[in-house]
Amino acid sequence: MKKFAALTLVWSMFVAVTFMALKAMFFPPHVDHGPHIEEQQWSTDGIRGNWDREQLLRGYKVATEVCMSCHSFKYISHRNLKNIGITEAKAKEMAEALDLGLNDPILSLLSPEDAKDSYGKEVPDLSVMTKARAKGPDYVYALLTHYVSSETFMTEYGKQIIAGDGQYLNKVFPGYRIAMPNPLSADLVEYEDGTEATVEQMAKDVTAFLTWTGDPLLVEKKRLGVIVFLYLVLFTFLCYKSYKAIWAKVKK
């Protein structure tokens, strides 16, 4: 009987812990998930997702005219632009406008030492930035569009956060204090296709560009993935038929 009692005890512990786990899963306890990051629509979403070349070129403009004054894109050269349908001649022309060769990595003129002097820390390379944050491009977009003044922060959150020297307030940055000053303001760049350069538009375009720098082969992978998938479905079907045929004579 003692053994049964022990087993019953272990089992009720099990039921209790399962219940607790389920409760914690569906009604998460007071864990700070950080600021809410809104989901955005991207042209690359989904299996049929594709690059929006016009958007990438707008993003390229923001990246090279704004971001590049401090940030580098060391895994990207202008040659990579060929994979979104830019001709080699055009890519070369774009590179030369920045005093770069076709195969040169896109590096900022700001040296890491100067960056450290100006911002107190190293300025991160942006090539894989959308992959290096949990919410990916949605986070990068949110970061670029959620800078606030300390007054606005005070009225919205009812608490004061003091931004120290060389610090700025951002509603989605963990801890709210960020070393990067707000890089975007309306009409900071002039788009060649006539799109209005609002902060949201530039943030969206440059984030799409960062998705591309993070994984220039993204679209090719999706296309290839579909073909491999279809091949495997056929392969598996044929294997299943062979399996049934070979086993047909085996008595159960």
């Binding site: 053994k3 049964f4 022990a6 087993l7 272990v10 089992w11 512990m13 099990f14 209790a16 812990v17 399962t18 607790m20 786990a21 914690a24 899963m25 306890p29 007071h30 864990v31 299996i47 895994y75 990579n80 991160p124 090539s127 894989v128 992959k131 290096a132 944050r133 949990a134 990916g136 963990p174 994984d215 220039p216 082969l217 992978k221 999706k222 290839l224 993935g225 491999v228 998938f229 495997l232 479905v233 392969f235 598996t236 079907f237 294997c239 299943y240 062979s242 399996y243 070979i246 086993w247 085996v250 008595k251």
Partner: protein, 389 residues
């Protein structure tokens, strides 16, 4: 056999060996799909070794170059993204397959006499796999690589008296650094071949006693068996297809899903990530480690959690193998499986509030499974066993 092959075979019996283990190897005819996972694990291992070999041709185990070389593979090497993503996703899928394979052994009592040594070899493979996977995750030299390596290697410092010296010896310095990365690369290359060696022993032991089966009784009649080839080769080919479909979808559409975003940030010894989380396949054991307040005992509990499988054949005293005929063991088994999932889930949570309680109780239940087995297997009344399949 043609004359040349016969001549050759009389001198080196490779042809006989292949025949012996394929067309002449008797496999029970009642094996269900759970028996697909052994051969799948072998395929997963071979995929890891081949993709890994090609990766080493482009990877550079140097703290200044490692991160860049992985990006180089992903961008510039022909099909580099494919071999790299297959290797990264393949590691996770290898663990999924092996966990199911172990679970099948637990459910159908495959660890019992006369297959104890076969079972042992499996546990050795599992240990080697974990060491290999851990060191492999360090190689991309991202933030999680560095901090995961720091946290896990530091566990050895709990060894009494010489722990700190051992950790320094392991690191090749006073922190995880270039020498550590370099030797982890060497060991990550070596260990898979040790795994292959133990896999051969695992298969040797298997072929000596033949497969267990879902009914769990010893099969004696010739009609209970079919030759492994073509019957199980074709069934395994079908299983392989079913396996490759989700594998491919992950490789092409969500290669980073099972990874951690922080590993796209180059390793920085001066910046600690907010949450240091190991790869998902370590989470249940990580939860056990954290459930014990004392560091030394926590490490011991984590190791014992796996090592206890070595004595499982003797903890379970029931003569009946398959859980189909063991009403109490069946309940225990599923309790254990759910508990294992809970441990994995809580292992990814920060150790605070309810999560601590859940982790501790789940750990207690994990060990209770093994401690209760000797008693349960004695008082349990198994159902009537059939005399044949």
């Amino acid at each position: 056999m043609n004359k040349f092959l016969q001549w050759f075979d009389e001198r080196l019996p490779i042809v006989s060996l292949v025949k012996h283990s394929t067309t002449e190897y008797p496999a029970p005819k009642n094996l269900n799909y759970m028996w697909n996972f052994g051969s799948l694990a072998l395929v997963a291992l071979v995929v890891q070794i081949l993709t890994g070999l090609f990766l080493t041709m482009h990877y550079k185990p140097d703290v200044g170059l490692a991160f860049d070389s992985v990006q180089h593979i992903m961008r510039d090497v022909n099909w580099g993204f494919l071999i790299r993503n297959m290797h990264a996703v393949g590691a996770s899928f290898f663990f999924i397959v092996v966990y199911i394979h172990i679970g099948r052994g637990l459910y159908y009592g495959s660890y019992k006499s006369p297959r104890e040594v076969l079972w042992w070899m499996g546990i050795v493979i599992f240990f080697l796999m974990m060491a290999t996977a851990f060191m492999g995750y360090v190689l991309p030299w991202g933030q999680m690589s560095f901090w995961g390596a720091t946290v896990i290697t530091n566990l050895l410092s709990v060894i009494p008296f010489i722990g700190d010296e051992i950790v320094i010896w392991l690191w090749g310095g006073y922190s995880v650094d270039d020498p550590t990365l370099n030797r982890f690369f060497a060991l990550h290359f070596l260990l898979p071949f040790l795994i292959v060696g133990v896999v051969i022993l695992h298969l040797w032991a298997l072929h000596h006693n033949k497969s267990n089966n879902p009914v769990g009784i010893d099969l004696t009649k010739k009609g209970d068996f079919v030759p492994f080839h073509p019957y199980y080769t074709v069934k395994d080919a079908f299983g392989l297809g079913v396996y490759l479909i989700p594998f491919t979808l992950m490789v092409f559409f969500a290669p980073d899903y099972l990874g951690h975003a922080d590993n796209y940030i180059p390793a920085d010894p001066l910046v600690t990530p907010a949450h240091i989380v190991p790869e998902w396949y370590f989470l249940p054991f990580y939860a056990i480690l954290r459930a014990i307040p004392d560091k030394l005992l926590g490490v011991v509990a984590m190791i014992v959690a796996i090592a206890i499988l070595f004595v499982l054949p003797w903890l379970d005293r029931s003569k009946v193998r398959s859980a189909r005929f063991r009403p109490m063991y069946k309940v225990m088994f599923w309790t254990f499986i759910i508990d294992f999932f809970i441990l994995g889930w809580v292992g990814a949570k920060p150790p605070e509030g309810d999560f601590i309680t859940i982790g501790r109780v789940a750990t207690a239940i994990y060990f209770a499974f093994f401690l209760a087995l000797p008693f349960v297997s004695k008082i349990e009344k198994p159902k009537q066993l059939p005399t044949s399949i």
